[in-house]
Symmetry: C2
Subunit: 393 residues, 2 copies
């Protein structure tokens, strides 16, 4: 029979990365495409011990239905860490546990976006956010990213033209570009948004994965009532447990809670207890330091390989944290076509175009440096360099 | 600052049950309000062993990101069980693992409902479905439930008047009424829907919790291309792991997969592996038999207590499975007001009105018989009987 799908489905970009990831399931492919953390760094034994403790001490409770907001000791941990790390005063009641930070975007869209609402997003912008928000049919408007954050002259002009409902951004080690907003840029963006009614959605998935320099202030320190932060255990503990969180002012949180209950009642409760126990009984700062040391070395190696293997005229970002860097090839080298050649060479990346809501990024690519080990980075970047040289001819 | 929420939030019923559940957190309250399974029947040791096995044998894989569709061996198990239990031919590729079956409703709404689309729901209907679908702003139309399922004369008239996009129903041990559609009723409903373009959403959360009689055919056996089934491990294994599934024809599943990826990428992968291992290494049929034996005894006890403690003029359903029964008090005994008296007596239930999209159920209540043990059922029903008698005066 013919099916009639909701019109919102027509506005959702095809699931480009999922299709790529399928191709890269072939074991011979070295993939810089996904956004996966390094599995070598997972604290498998410690998490297994935490799971065993929870089941032994509170099994029946951990297996039962629980509250929509999430496990209170876990929310208290998150609030305490914001206080210590960023000096932010966030009450545990302003935090709700989600199924990974991707779900934060769905809940924010559900609660705040009517069709046609103007939504600002970085250019290039995070593909997962484009997908999540698309289902709520906003009018996307993109703010160019330059070296140290959004182009504020452009942002100012856009806000003068029309107010925006939301501005979604990734101020620290942005996905896909690897760019971090400077301290000055954070203040300037906040000053432009203040009083406009725009809510800044600060995706802080990579804030803890910082290699160089100290933590920079959250936009929430300038816009306490107009910032929603999304966070994630995926990059610092494990993505397989799908645990993230949303921190929002109380009035927004009331609506988020209603939407969360309607969407799936609550997040996996056993997983929340396991992570809470793991965080109580392990030194998360030491664990994060191990991760950032490894990723920094992998970033350095990937950049060295670009210098060695790629032709002249290639430019790239030098991320001070996170998992991605952004490479721009010379004119006339479209990366969607390059990808076909690269896959023939058994190496994968994400073409830049996927990160633009309004076209662009044709000669750019996103490279992930967290998932592949050093040997794979060397071999994979040689293959990719060869593909680029061949393509440029 | 003033926040401007999406208009869909205004159409969502206040989270009535969540508010009640909060009241019932006082330990002295005996609650027949929630829809919780009996924690005494959780297979805590077996699930702990499964968790340990998975972490030991495949920890790094289980902690990594995974596919949107879900863990293939788990989807194969579900497909195999449909084949054996109901004679249904469902391919594992037509099954996607969700965060509990509540998420199925969100995904179905997202993929299929435009604002104003006519949606049929049973009267009374499942509150969680009303909440989930409300966010997609359909035009609810309610089909009265009578003893053996929907009133087909009424359904026929409604379908003649205007076609419906979806018909959401719970054919086996319905929530809230406890009613099961008879075999004849299933055929008759399917015959009325055939060729109208209406998709039947068969919520089968309780199909395995059947006390009396054999399993009845799924609507999908009559309407293979026009039925979506939602299922859950919450009632037969554990709700705390939030694992359910959706079974839908391939063309619908493609859209569901896009929506699932945008909503939260994928369901908790470690939990999927734990449940799959548990199902491989334990006899789930024997476990389900223990659950149904216990719930049947609890249902019998609750009915005996109604007979003993409630005044004349009270009627009730006699569910042949599931977790709920439905009590109707005499005229002039509104259960929203009765609830206040009941809470003073430290006993809770859900007033009938919560289950009506168009008013009604004023003198009805839903009672859960699965969560409280026998002693609590005796004490709680005495308190509730006293509250009813006092209220009627």
């Amino acid at each position: 029979m013919p099916y009639h799908f909701a019109s919102r489905m027509e506005k959702t970009p095809k699931s480009f990365i999922r299709e790529i990831l399928k191709t890269t399931e072939r074991p011979e492919v070295i993939s810089f495409a996904g956004g996966l953390p390094s599995p070598a760094l997972f604290a498998v034994e410690e998490l297994a011990a935490a799971a065993q403790d929870v089941m032994a001490e509170a099994g029946r409770a951990a297996l039962q239905y629980s509250t929509t907001e999430g496990y209170l000791p876990l929310r208290e941990f998150i609030a305490g860490r914001y206080r210590r790390r960023l000096g932010l005063a966030i009450d545990p009641d302003e935090i709700l546990i989600t199924n990974g930070s991707q779900q934060c975007l769905d809940l924010i869209g559900k609660v705040l976006l009517d069709p046609g609402d103007p939504l600002l997003i970085e250019r290039p912008g995070y593909l997962g956010a484009i997908q999540a928000f698309s289902l709520y049919e906003p009018a996307f408007r993109s703010v160019p990213l330059i070296d140290d954050g959004p182009d504020t002259a452009c942002l100012e002009a856009m806000l003068e033209e029309a107010p925006a409902k939301l501005f979604y951004g990734v101020p620290s080690s942005q996905n896909p570009s690897g760019i971090t907003y400077s301290a000055e840029k954070r203040r300037a963006v906040a000053a432009l948004l203040a009083g406009t009614g725009t809510i800044f959605v600060e995706d802080d998935a990579y804030g803890e994965l910082r290699f160089d320099g100290e933590s920079l202030p959250s936009l929430k320190s300038y816009l306490p009532d107009a910032t929603i932060i999304t966070g994630s255990f995926s990059k610092i503990v494990t993505p397989g447990l799908r645990l993230g969180w949303i921190a929002a002012p109380g009035e927004i949180m009331e609506q988020i809670t209603v939407a969360k209950q309607a969407s799936d009642l609550h997040s996996n409760y056993l997983a929340q207890r396991i992570i809470a126990r793991y965080l109580e009984t392990n030194d998360i700062d030491a664990h994060i330091a191990r991760i950032t040391d490894a990723y920094q070395a992998q970033r350095d190696l990937m950049i060295a390989m670009i210098e060695e293997e790629f032709p002249d005229g290639v430019s790239y970002t030098r991320p001070d944290g996170g998992m991605f860097l952004w490479v721009t090839l010379p004119e006339g080298c479209p990366t969607t076509q390059l990808l076909e050649e690269a896959l023939r060479q058994n190496v994968a990346f994400v073409p830049g175009r996927a990160f633009y809501v309004d076209g662009g990024g044709d000669t750019a690519m996103r490279l992930n440096f967290s998932n592949a080990d050093e040997e794979k980075i060397v071999v994979g970047m040689r293959r990719l360099g060869a593909a680029v040289r061949r393509f440029i001819g």
